[in-house]
């Protein structure tokens, strides 16, 4: 082999469409996650344990649990998502995948959106699926549980999307975990307020379509704006390291 020959640059395949690229990033993240199954289980265990703390720590009375069950589940779900956010970019950052993603001809924010959607599928959705069981343990009635699941279904993607900004900003920092929570919790407050507000309204027998529409508006806003902020933050974090 001729050592002096110029190293052939791999031709950039720009024929891959944007959507195709997003799908492959999404599928890759799902596949990687299923090879690390414990990481998938941890947020769910955390969720269950936090919920368990409330009857033990505050009061196991049915009246109390009925009244605050929705709030407890929402806060626990919020904390579980927060805890899992560190994984969103960390592994890809450590092994250099993130840099490769950045070099792709497809816009970074769309690839980030695909990653965030995979994150939601792997953490947010299981939380929603586990909620009816825990709701039953907190003596919530069927109507409340249904509304709660619906709000979590709309709300958890918002949590993942907003959280991706924080995860990108704190990438590669020393005390990233705590810092991430400090940055993101204030931004989660509106989602929490409307999430629990919807359930409270449903429990009183009021119309919830207005609340759900507002939560939907949050989702649309987060879907359209958060990936841009995350992509910008990723570029900053990677230029830093």
């Amino acid at each position: 082999m001729n050592v002096n020959a110029p190293i052939a640059l791999k031709k950039v395949d720009s024929s891959v469409g944007v959507f195709q690229a997003m799908v492959s990033v999404f599928l890759r993240d799902v596949r990687v996650a299923f090879r690390q199954r414990q990481d998938l289980l941890n947020p769910l265990l955390f969720f269950t344990m936090v919920v368990t703390l409330f009857p033990l720590g505050v009061s196991p009375e049915v009246a109390f649990l009925k009244q605050s069950g929705a709030g407890i589940l929402w806060v626990a779900a919020l904390l579980s998502v927060l805890l899992s956010l560190d994984h969103l970019f960390r592994h890809d950052f450590d092994d250099g995948t993130l840099e490769q993603l950045m070099l792709q001809p497809q816009p970074l924010f769309l690839l980030v959106l695909a990653k965030t959607m995979a994150h939601w599928l792997l953490t947010g959705l299981p939380l929603v699926l586990l909620t009816p069981v825990l709701g039953l343990m907190l003596h919530l009635d069927g109507n409340s549980v249904a509304t709660l699941c619906l709000t979590l279904l709309i709300g958890t993607p918002v949590l993942s999307l907003i959280g991706s900004i924080g995860a990108a900003l704190t990438l590669g920092l020393r005390s990233a975990g705590v810092l991430l929570s400090l940055l993101i919790i204030p931004l989660y407050i509106p989602v929490l307020i409307f999430g629990t507000g919807t359930v409270a309204a449903a429990a009183e027998g009021a119309q919830v379509s207005g609340y759900l529409a507002l939560m939907g508006a949050f989702l649309v806003l987060a879907l359209t704006l958060a990936p841009f902020a995350s992509a910008a933050a990723l570029r900053i974090s990677l230029s830093n390291s």
Binding site: L169, L179, L187, A229
Partner: protein
């Protein structure tokens, strides 16, 4: 116009301008604030409902005002940082974030002191109070992020992104907590409407707000100058300045 814009980006030029303006800002701020406070605390009439306890308004409202507008100023500077990479903009964001935190804390603290005699409690989970508390968290987050990143430039840009995300959220947070719970009296101070309070109370309040703004300007200049000296410590003009000061 463009020349001015370019000059504005130069730390050395700012240093000169700041030196020229600072005495005026300090003197104006102190005079206005002193006038407003003395008038408000000693001469303004008593409130028919709240008695003398309302007088803390002359500190509470100006701090709350500044707490909110400093965040807006930071967000504007953050846009400049991200778009034009202007050095002074990130010096500004970094320098005023702790000042904003301080004013937010002051507004919350004076609010608690005021709340005790009027509402009978130090703290209520009311919309205004809660949104100020969240503002305090946002300031805290920005400062924490800035301190955690060693590289000056990345820190400035990361904080700029965070501040902008925060500013998009501020109206959402505000309306969500408003909707959630409201007990606080409506805003006392609106520029667009005729004041709902007596003139003898309104004018001193206006004076203290203006005075505190000027004092903030002075403090911002002072902190920015310090930050510039640290950042530009290796440049020739700073070395000459320091050597000249030593003589």
């Amino acid at each position: 116009m463009w020349q001015f814009f370019h000059k504005l980006g130069s730390p050395k030029w700012f240093f000169g301008i700041a030196n020229r303006f600072m005495p005026w800002l300090l003197a104006g701020g102190l005079i206005l604030l002193a006038a407003g406070l003395v008038w408000g605390l000693a001469f303004a009439p008593k409130d028919y409902l709240q008695g003398n306890s309302y007088r803390i308004i002359f500190i509470h409202v100006p701090s709350a005002f500044l707490a909110q507008s400093i965040y807006i100023m930071m967000a504007s500077a953050a846009v400049v940082t991200l778009v034009w990479r202007m050095k002074l903009a990130d010096v500004f964001v970094k320098s005023v974030a702790p000042v904003g935190l301080m004013f937010t804390f002051l507004a919350l603290f004076t609010g608690a002191v005021w709340g005790k005699p009027t509402w009978g409690t130090w703290w209520v989970w009311d919309a205004r109070l809660t949104s100020m508390l969240i503002l305090l968290f946002l300031y805290g987050g920005a400062i924490a992020l800035d301190r955690s990143i060693n590289d000056e430039k990345s820190a400035a840009r990361a904080v700029a992104v965070l501040v902008l995300v925060g500013v998009v959220n501020i109206p959402i947070i505000k309306y969500s907590v408003d909707w959630w719970n409201t007990l606080h009296q409506p805003a006392t101070f609106k520029l667009t409407e005729k004041p709902s309070m007596a003139m003898e109370m309104w004018v001193p309040l206006l004076l203290s707000v203006l005075g505190l703004y000027l004092l903030f300007g002075w403090l911002a200049c002072l902190r920015m100058k310090t930050e510039i000296l640290v950042r530009e410590r290796r440049t020739r003009w700073v070395k000459e300045l320091v050597l000249a000061g030593r003589k």
